[in-house]
Amino acid sequence: VTVAAADPGTNLPAAGPSAAARRSVARRFLGSRVTALALFDLVFIAAIGAIEPDFVRLENFKVIVENMALPAMVMVPTVYLLAAGRFDLSVDGVAVLSGIVAGLLLKNEGAPTLVALVLGVGVGFAFGLANGLLIELAGLNPLVTTLGTWWVAMGLALGLTQGYSPFGFPSGFTAIGQTKVLGVLIVVVYAVVFVAAMAALLGLTRFGAHVYATGGDREAALLNGVKVKRIGVVLYALAGTLAGAAGVIFAARLGTASASAFDGLALDVIAAAVVGGASLTGGRGTVLGGLLGLFLLNLFGSAAIYVGISPFWQKGISGLILLVALVADALADRRQRRPPSHLGTQAGGEGSERAATT
């Protein structure tokens, strides 16, 4: 989806195809990160399939997609936080705490499923909102703030449970995570709906254009009337809410709420978003790219088992993939920023186009 609408609320030019139109469709298609990543994913699948034909079974891809469904829900707001020049390290802790709050409400308080669900997700929203207010209004550093709220959330999770994992939830609650739709876990359906909704919200609306503007050049965005702080608060609240939802759904899927449910989720989704083309300095990032990045990391995890790579090497190789993506990104960025010789002026890179495609 290309953001082509004019932006009547600000002086911002529409994130339209002005620069892009100058390129041929084929060149844009072949040159985009999303296309490159999709091709890389396909080549990777083909290569592993050649070594281990079992790898390309539909059943295996179903497992991979089911595994990445909940992280995808957390990854989407992460892409947009990155696009807006922000990030959130607290999502693991928030997801864990949300699952535990829902679990304790069900087990200890006998709360109805809907109440547990709403309050569990509400915890995520509250933490996200707190992150947003502390960072955007109080001006605290995002790294330290979200690290702090991660600690608070994990500490609360442990303190509330004392190491005990509530389990034995009513079937109405476990159905939220364990139901299958056409043979696929329902979490995939949630992910598709959330991802599509978020992509549409942020890719088709004025709000989405403002997100990219905020990350691309904060001062310019401010001068053009973009409510930068408000956007930041909304994005952090969204990130917290979706982390909370992921935590509650995961508790329903496992049938238990564990303080060790997630470990490193925040870094995993940031890595996936960056592999997918999001920039840590803001202004760039797409949902589709992030999804392909997440898919690649999950593909690798599965492939490592198929080709017999020792589990002790897997993290290291995942790290290498991330580094390769970062280097490729840096090289591509540098190439795009180089002034074309026939113009003699600095051309707008992908960042200046705000890469507002989802």
Binding site: S258, A259, K315
Partner: protein, 358 residues
């Protein structure tokens, strides 16, 4: 083994004898008297029945009640600690002393080392039950510092020899051995078997024993490989699902670390045909055994380990008693045959109630 060697902690020679705790902890006076007999010391004056008013084993020993006994460990978010903490608290109640668990939430060796260091600096430390499972060389100077300060240390999760007062726990080979027997019998000595565990040093050692025992005892069983997870439920489930997808003909799996029981239902859903053996006694796992979905679970009961693990510290501090060099707590196998009794009374021997004696 009866090998005498110098006691590096403090006051008197240590008898290098192995004292095996018979059955689940007989937590009353009879058990404590047996322990003291193994120590070579006298029995405490008039030890009473467990929990009886005025009958604390501390009576007559001049217990230093203002001091605290610390359990230094890591990965506090793991459900494994639920029973262990119950055992530690039982020790505190029986002996009328303060107890506390300290350490990082995650499987964090640096954090655990720091917790050990901080504990040694506390003015109220009576003794330390140390779960230091990483390379001992990293903590050797801290153990030496403890010896200098005459703070007794009992090792739990791994034994590195002196300087320490005693080792209370299981041998690395015990749980794998029990799991191999359970799986081998269930498969009738034929089939394919895999392993999954976390990357903790002791778990890696145990995986080697599992593979070795399988080869030695069941020539008709093929070991198809292992997977490792990062300690989170999310990653454990992901790795397990990928592994059973890769090895669709695997007949049995041993989930070699304590996370398995909490996610038993989700593991079963990944491939209900796999005969699954878990590690630890989380309620979720026990329910799955009861329902016939999981073959069984093996482990020492951490309640036993922590209840007995603190006693050498207490008697070293309060009575200058020699401690056994090693106390091996029993590895318990729970299957459908005995799961009901275990759920009903997980901490006591079933059948004989020694505590009812006058």
């Amino acid at each position: 083994v009866n090998e005498q060697r110098p006691h590096e902690i403090g006051r008197g020679g240590a008898s290098r004898r192995e004292f095996v705790v018979r059955g689940a902890a007989a937590s009353g006076a009879a058990g404590i008297t047996a322990f003291l007999a193994a120590c070579g010391g006298g029995s405490p004056a008039a030890p009473g029945k467990a929990g009886a008013a005025g009958g604390s084993p501390a009576a007559g020993l001049g217990a230093k009640k203002d001091q605290t006994y610390y359990w230094v460990t890591a990965n506090l978010g793991d459900p494994f600690y639920q029973d262990g903490i119950a055992g530690m608290k039982k020790f505190g109640d029986l002996f009328g002393v303060k107890v506390q668990i300290v350490g990082p939430q995650k499987n964090d060796v640096a954090g655990m080392t720091q917790a050990l260091q901080e504990t040694l600096a506390k003015p109220d430390v009576a003794g330390i039950f140390s779960y230091y499972y990483a390379d001992f060389n990293a903590a050797k100077s801290l153990y030496e510092e403890a010896a200098k300060k005459q703070i007794p240390v009992v090792n739990g999760a791994g034994d590195w020899g002196p300087p320490r007062l005693s080792f209370v726990g299981v041998r690395d080979q015990d749980a794998p051995s029990a799991a191999v027997d359970l799986i081998g019998d269930a498969l009738g000595g034929k089939g394919k078997v895999g392993y999954i565990g976390n990357t903790g040093t002791n778990i890696v050692r145990e995986e080697k024993f599992f593979e070795q025992f399988l080869k030695e005892r069941f020539s008709g069983i093929q070991f198809v490989g292992n997977a490792a997870h990062d300690g989170s439920a999310d990653d454990a489930l992901k790795q397990y699902r990928a592994f059973v997808q890769r090895n669709r003909d695997v007949n049995a799996m041993f989930f070699g670390d304590g996370l398995g029981p909490s996610i038993a239902d989700a593991l079963v859903q990944a491939n209900p045909n796999v005969k699954l053996v878990l590690r630890g006694f989380g309620q979720n796992g026990l329910k799955a055994i009861q329902a016939g979905k999981v073959l069984g679970t093996v482990d020492r009961n951490p309640y036993d380990e922590e209840l007995w693990g603190f006693m050498p510290l207490y008697f070293a501090v309060n009575g200058n008693y020699r401690a056994p060099d090693s106390m091996i707590v029993p590895t318990i196998t729970v299957t459908k045959d005995n799961v009901d009794g275990f759920i009903k009374d997980p901490y006591h021997n079933v059948g004989v109630d020694y505590s009812s004696r006058a």
